[in-house]
């Protein structure tokens, strides 16, 4: 991996949300993304998994600055687009051509008053990609066909399509600006199982064809394992482990990843019965008042006294397998 080019370097990225406290309580802060550092290499798919509310989506949106980061730095292709220490906050318009996002809920994320042609075309207009009307409609048809729709569909409205087709429109819209990097924010979790694989396969084909880099966010580990080269595991706003996809699956080292992996069903009853299941107890703690030290210590089956005090460092445990856990240091 090291010899590959980094497309994105994210360092100590934080995104806190201020929320109004109820009653007499003061303003509170939700630490949705807390000190995340990660590299994304050109042409790879980085999977991001974790429970609901762990900050996966926020991280994805903060990286492309749909949310303004609280602090940290984002370097895209060698150029810093955000750095809180150096006071850099580049204008995003040129980067919106390079970084795109596919949203989770396809029906809600398409403007119901616009035709498919307008939805896809709007992006072309903003970035002045097409010089003539003919070229524009040509490009729209091309994009729709690339995602498995017809060019006639461009005069229809989003509500006339099924969920899977709507997601294809969302993908066509993201591809319109010829991006290099796409955040796939749970692109299939709102779809029927039968359609999920179609969309995932299409995303893979598009990646091969167009040389795209993906950040693929999902809570379904088996889908992420299928599509990703590397996987990052998030817990309560922190990245707890990253490794190559096969390595992470075979050899998870962080206790949280272990429990996640042991929850993945294996289609073989013999193995299922034989394997030891680690069951995670309790709910994910509130990101308003996260636990001290290692945030996972309240639920970790192996937690020690030290875990409550010190925040573990995110370290390389060999071959690009990073994790943040005190127990590994022994």
């Amino acid at each position: 991996m090291a010899e590959q080019n980094k497309l994105l370097e994210i360092r100590d990225l934080k995104k806190y949300f201020n929320i109004k406290g109820s009653g007499f309580r003061n303003k509170q802060t939700v630490k949705a993304v807390d000190n995340v550092s990660i590299d994304i290499y050109k042409g790879e798919t980085l999977g991001l998994v974790g429970e609901s509310g762990c900050g996966k989506t926020t991280l994805g949106r903060t990286i492309i600055r749909l949310y303004e980061p609280t602090s940290g730095s984002i370097i895209y292709d060698g150029k810093p687009i955000y750095d809180s220490e150096k006071n850099i906050a580049e204008k995003m318009l040129p980067y919106r051509r390079k970084m795109q996002i596919i949203f989770q809920d396809p029906s809600a994320s398409l403007d119901p008053r616009m035709t498919v042609g307008e939805i896809v075309g709007e992006a072309l207009d903003i970035h002045k990609i097409c010089s003539s009307k003919a070229e524009r409609s040509e490009r729209i048809s091309e994009l729709l066909e690339a995602v498995g729709l017809n060019s006639e569909h461009s005069n229809r409205f989003p509500h006339e399509f099924s969920g899977g087709q709507q997601q294809r429109i969302g993908i066509a819209r993201a591809l319109a600006v010829e991006p290099e990097f796409i955040v796939c924010d749970e692109p299939i979790s709102a779809l029927d199982v039968s359609i999920q694989s179609q969309v995932v396969n299409m995303l893979e084909d598009l990646q091969d064809e167009l040389g795209l880099t993906y950040l693929f966010i999902a809570h379904d580990i088996s889908v992420v394992r299928h599509i990703s080269n590397r996987i990052g595991v998030m817990y309560l706003g922190n990245l707890v482990e990253t490794a190559e996809s096969y390595e992470l699956y075979r050899n998870p080292i962080h206790p949280y990843t272990k429990t996640l992996m042991s929850a993945v069903p294996i289609p073989d009853p013999k193995i299922t019965r034989a394997r030891e299941r680690l069951i995670l107890e309790g709910d994910i703690p509130s990101p308003i008042n996260p636990p001290s030290g290692c945030k996972f210590h309240t639920r970790c089956p192996f937690a020690e006294e030290r875990c409550k005090q010190e925040i573990p460092k995110f370290k390389d445990y060999g071959g690009g397998h990073f994790a943040a856990c005190h127990l590994l240091e022994k």
Partner: protein
């Protein structure tokens, strides 16, 4: 679409018949008669009743009304301008025109001020501008028209002497100012509140985030994506409002001495001028029905997801 409109118009005729029936029988259950004055003798009343056919059974009178209306004959005034055809009173003497002039101005003000103010409040949500607008619009919705109209009259006509006290037949542009403000103030505030609420709702939708991801500028996100999606409640309110505002307001027309339809309608009820009551009611009903039809068609235009009827596929 054409079939839909024809169907709606057919239904409208039935609605108007029902309204006519209700108005007619209610009006006749009110005690009194157009011909009853302190001086009139029973014989005189009897004679007048015979002259205008009011001595016949109610059912027969009602039938005559319907038949005459079908022929476009609205009858003659019984009292206020005795013997003058109602059609001439409503449309010929400029009463309706006066009310329409005021109403259309007020409607334009309500739309052109209300919607942008609502957008502004939503766009600047949480800032002092939003707070100020919220206070203003709440006060505006709470102040009764007669209080506002009288205050304006005292301030600008009596004390400052800038504007005429009597607006009369609206001969100069100055005569419009106070009646239009009084007529539209409530609606400006109400529309601003409606727009703000539905705009905030629209701004939190996912497709706004999509627009942002595309790189659409904030200003255009609000104008192009959020506004179009937040107009439905405003349009719903505008339909009936348009019908009522152009048929005139009794309060405003009385305070500013405008001889319009709104004022005349109330006077006709007080005077039991049956033919005028009937005619005015029908005019207002027709307007409300037409405006509702326009609103339904407008829905279809702003929101393609709405289908007008089950056959309109």
């Amino acid at each position: 679409m054409a079939i839909y409109i024809v169907k709606r118009l057919a239904a409208a005729v039935a609605t108007i018949l029902v309204i006519m029936a209700i108005t007619f029988f209610l009006m006749n259950t009110i005690p009194g008669s157009p011909f009853l004055t302190e001086k009139s003798t029973p014989q005189q009343i009897e004679l007048a009743n015979q002259k205008y056919g009011l001595d016949k059974p109610l059912i027969v009178q009602f039938k005559n009304y319907i038949v005459n209306y079908a022929h476009g004959d609205l009858g003659v005034s019984l009292k206020m301008q005795e013997g003058t055809p109602v059609k001439k009173i409503l449309f010929g003497q400029g009463k309706f025109v006066l009310s329409i002039k005021l109403g259309v101005c007020a409607l334009l003000v309500a739309i052109c001020l209300g919607i942008p103010l609502g957008c502004l409040a939503a766009y600047k949500r949480g800032t002092w501008i939003d707070g100020l607008l919220r206070v203003l619009t709440t006060v505006g919705v709470a102040i009764p028209t007669f209080v506002l109209a009288s205050t304006l009259l005292v301030a600008f006509a009596v004390k400052l002497n800038w504007l005429p006290t009597l607006s009369g037949s609206l001969d100069s542009w100055k005569a419009y100012i106070m009646p239009v403000i009084s007529l539209s103030f409530y609606d400006v505030c109400y529309i601003a509140k409606l727009t703000r609420t539905s705009m905030l709702d629209a701004i939190n939708q996912d497709y706004i985030r999509t627009a942002k991801a595309k790189g659409v500028k904030n200003k255009w996100i609000v104008l192009k994506h959020a506004l179009r999606n937040s107009l439905i409640p405003v349009i719903t309110f505008l339909g009936p409002l348009a019908a009522f505002i152009i048929t005139g307001s009794f309060v405003v027309e009385t305070i500013f001495s405008v001889p319009g339809l709104g004022k005349y309608f109330i006077q006709s009820v007080i005077n039991r001028d049956y033919t005028i009551i009937m005619a005015t009611t029908v005019v207002v009903s027709v307007l409300v029905i037409v405006m509702n039809l326009v609103v339904d068609i407008a829905y279809k235009i702003v929101d393609p997801r709405i289908t007008l009827s089950s056959t309109d596929e």
